[in-house]
């Protein structure tokens, strides 16, 4: 099982739109993907699961993936979080 840490950069947190973007992409892969916050773990392919994380801006999340394309999935997840999951990154002043 592979692991990777990411940080939520979106201004309002991991809310419905970025969660939907994430889930849509992940569902194209065969690996099982999970997100952990503190000791709470959810299926990363479920938008509801992702929303129950209530991950506000700055939250650190642990992503785990298991399966044939696990490495690829984690690269994608890391890139997506860096790019604010498809939302325009907020300019920090």
């Amino acid at each position: 099982m592979l692991k990777r840490k990411v940080i939520v950069r979106n201004e309002v947190g991991l809310h419905a739109r970025p969660a939907k973007n994430l889930v849509t992409e992940l569902n194209k892969y065969s690996s099982d993907v999970f997100i952990e916050k503190d000791d709470y773990r959810v299926n990363a392919k479920s938008i509801i699961g992702v929303l129950t994380l209530a991950a506000v801006k700055g939250t650190e999340l642990l992503i785990t993936a298991e399966g044939d394309d696990a490495e690829e999935v984690l690269d994608l997840v890391e890139r997506m979080f860096q790019e604010c999951l498809g939302e325009n990154p907020q300019v920090v002043t």
Partner: protein
């Protein structure tokens, strides 16, 4: 055994079985499946999902044509995603297969677990997402349950209703013969369901927060509407204790009922008129049994709720006349439609951000003469059968009053031209329930025959408190000095103008506050019928002179708490018979 504390909305102790209604207003039954039924059940579930998806997509298309708002489209996309979610749908399918239970049962349980998860989240944005899930899951549940869904209307055996919230429409539609009591997650002492429960004499506890999640159908429950307690699955000792208390309450009710034919007169000879607030014509007999001298407020809305078309004129005449004849020669004050706010019939397409400050009551009626006129005609015609007075709600100024009276004149002319039987001199009054009406009571007085103070809304608007919002319900404070000053000033204005005044709000039946109102000079009270005997007993045990002094002293206090504790202190002294006082304290 589990004991929950809420708000006592309507007194009485009841022991019985629970009937749980989901947030969607229907009951979900658990059913075991045989092995060969399982795959068919999953197919049925998937069918419900795909139908729901089609519906959402079609709504989205509809909105797409009407607006360019990208946010809206996004909400629908999110909802479609929820329909495909592995947690919501995947788990449900897995559990149907594993437990061999019907889809609605398994699905509702999955949704409930998710709701709890969301409700426990600190962040407001994420907590609000629960509404998206409820929206989507409600749609699927409706499909699954189809025509089989059990609603409040067909409750078949006596039970205690457990539900998240009771809307006025639901309260009006339930088969009251079988409702022993009800207990809800939401609501406050003055929310509509509570007022109706009191009117119907159904014990109720509201604001229990999550009783729906903790009770199952057929669990044994104790409801103590006096103290706002619900006990789930009580042990034997508790059960015995409450059975004894129930006997005592029934005994005190029997004693109070003996007062029925005695006048509501103070020790020093001041006589007060106690009449009943009623919602439905069927309640009038019960009101008379409790010793009501007339109907001080007939809320007409309930004729309009729970139906696709408004009632026609003749149907209304019949309903009003039933009440009028039952209380003759005493009077019936019929309030014209107070729709809007939380009472919106199905055939009214209003969705407002601020419904209590929106197009409701007289505002709605003035906008819809096609609804208003038939009602005015019906009220005038019912006046031919007995003593009817007509009351306009939610008046904020003279313009509205004059417009309403103008329409009333037009209607009278029509009736005259038709040669219909009606009371040409039907007295016209306004409900004083907005601060503006209270402040200009002296200006309104010359143009009306009577005032009726609607204290619930008046206090709500004065203090800017949404009384059904349980987070701030405690701020709804009838003893606020601003409220006392307002009441005093309305009473003084009506006395100076020689306009008849009554009060029909909740505080008329709140024993300590009823004394204050009496002290300020009010002589006509209208309240939930079940409270009449107690108020009568209280009035018969005090002297008006004392109460008047107390009421005026209250005007010198600065906070609601000071006022309330002064009232309580005074009551102990004022009520001459100590055992009576004990009775009041135990029931307030």
């Amino acid at each position: 055994m589990k004991k929950l504390n809420g708000i006592g909305a309507s007194p009485g102790i009841v022991i019985g079985k629970a009937f749980v209604i989901s947030s969607e207003g229907f009951q979900i039954i658990s059913r075991d499946l045989s092995e060969d039924e399982v795959e068919r059940e999953i197919e049925r579930f998937q069918q419900a999902i795909s139908e729901s998806k089609q519906e959402i997509l079609s709504i989205k298309r509809q909105f797409g044509q009407d607006s360019n708002e990208p946010g809206l489209a996004e909400i629908f996309d999110t909802h479609v995603h929820l329909l495909e979610d592995v947690l919501l749908m995947g788990e449900t399918i897995e559990h149907i297969r594993r437990e061999r239970k019907n889809a609605e049962h398994v699905f509702a349980r999955t949704v409930q677990a998710l709701e709890e998860k969301f409700n426990s989240v600190d962040d407001e944005y994420f907590r609000q997402r629960v509404h998206d899930i409820q929206d989507v899951s409600g749609r699927i549940l409706r499909k699954l349950l189809g025509k089989e869904r059990r609603t409040l209307a067909n409750l078949r055996e006596k039970a205690i209703l457990i539900t998240r919230n009771l809307t006025p429409a639901e309260t009006a539609s339930m088969d009251r013969r079988n409702v022993l009591a009800f207990a809800t997650d939401f609501g406050g002492r003055t929310s509509h369901a509570s007022i109706m429960a009191k009117a119907l004499g159904i014990p109720a506890v509201v604001g229990l927060q999550n009783i729906t999640a903790q009770v199952r159908n057929d669990d044994v429950l104790i409801i103590d509407g006096q103290h706002g307690i619900a006990i789930i699955d009580p042990d034997e000792q508790t059960l015995n204790e409450y059975q004894m208390r129930r006997e005592r309450v029934l005994e005190s009710e029997r004693l109070l009922a003996q007062l029925r034919h005695l006048p509501a007169q103070t020790l020093d000879g001041v006589t007060v008129v106690l009449s009943a607030n009623i919602d439905l014509p069927e309640e009038v007999e019960r009101a008379m049994e409790h010793g009501a001298e007339g109907v001080g407020l007939l809320r007409s809305e309930f004729l309009y709720l729970n139906r696709t078309l408004p009632p026609d004129e003749d149907e209304q005449v019949e309903a009003y006349a039933k009440v009028v004849k039952a209380v003759a020669p005493n009077s019936v004050i019929i309030r014209t439609l107070d729709l809007g706010g939380d009472k919106v019939p199905g055939h009214f397409p209003y969705h407002e951000a601020n419904p209590f400050m929106g197009c409701r009551a007289i505002r709605l009626c003035l906008n819809h003469p096609e609804i208003f006129k038939p009602q005015l005609r019906a009220i005038l015609r019912a006046g031919a059968a007995g003593n009817v007075k007509l009351l306009f709600p939610m008046i904020t100024g003279l313009n509205e009053l004059r417009q309403a009276k103008q329409i009333l004149d037009e209607v009278k002319q029509e009736l005259r031209a038709e040669g219909a039987a009606f009371n040409e001199n039907t007295p016209v009054g306004v409900m004083i329930e907005t601060p503006s009406a209270g402040i200009i009571a002296d200006l309104l007085a010359p143009e009306v025959d009577f005032f009726s103070i609607g204290s619930n809304d008046l206090i709500q608007y004065m203090l800017a408190i949404d009384r059904v919002n349980e987070r701030i319900a405690h701020l709804y404070e009838p003893t606020h000095p601003a409220v006392l000053r307002m009441l005093k000033s309305i009473i003084d204005a009506s006395e100076r103008a020689g306009v008849e005044l009554s009060i029909c709000g909740e505080i008329a039946g709140d024993l300590p506050l009823a004394l204050v109102l009496l002290g300020f000079g009010i002589r006509k009270f209208s309240m939930a019928a079940t409270i009449i005997p107690e108020v009568k007993k209280l009035i018969r045990s005090i002297s008006f002179g004392d109460v008047k002094n107390m009421a005026h002293r209250l005007l010198t206090f600065s906070t609601p708490d000071e006022v309330r504790s002064e009232i309580q202190r005074s009551m102990a002294k004022l009520v001459t018979n100590y055992s009576d006082y004990e009775l009041f304290v135990s029931r307030t």
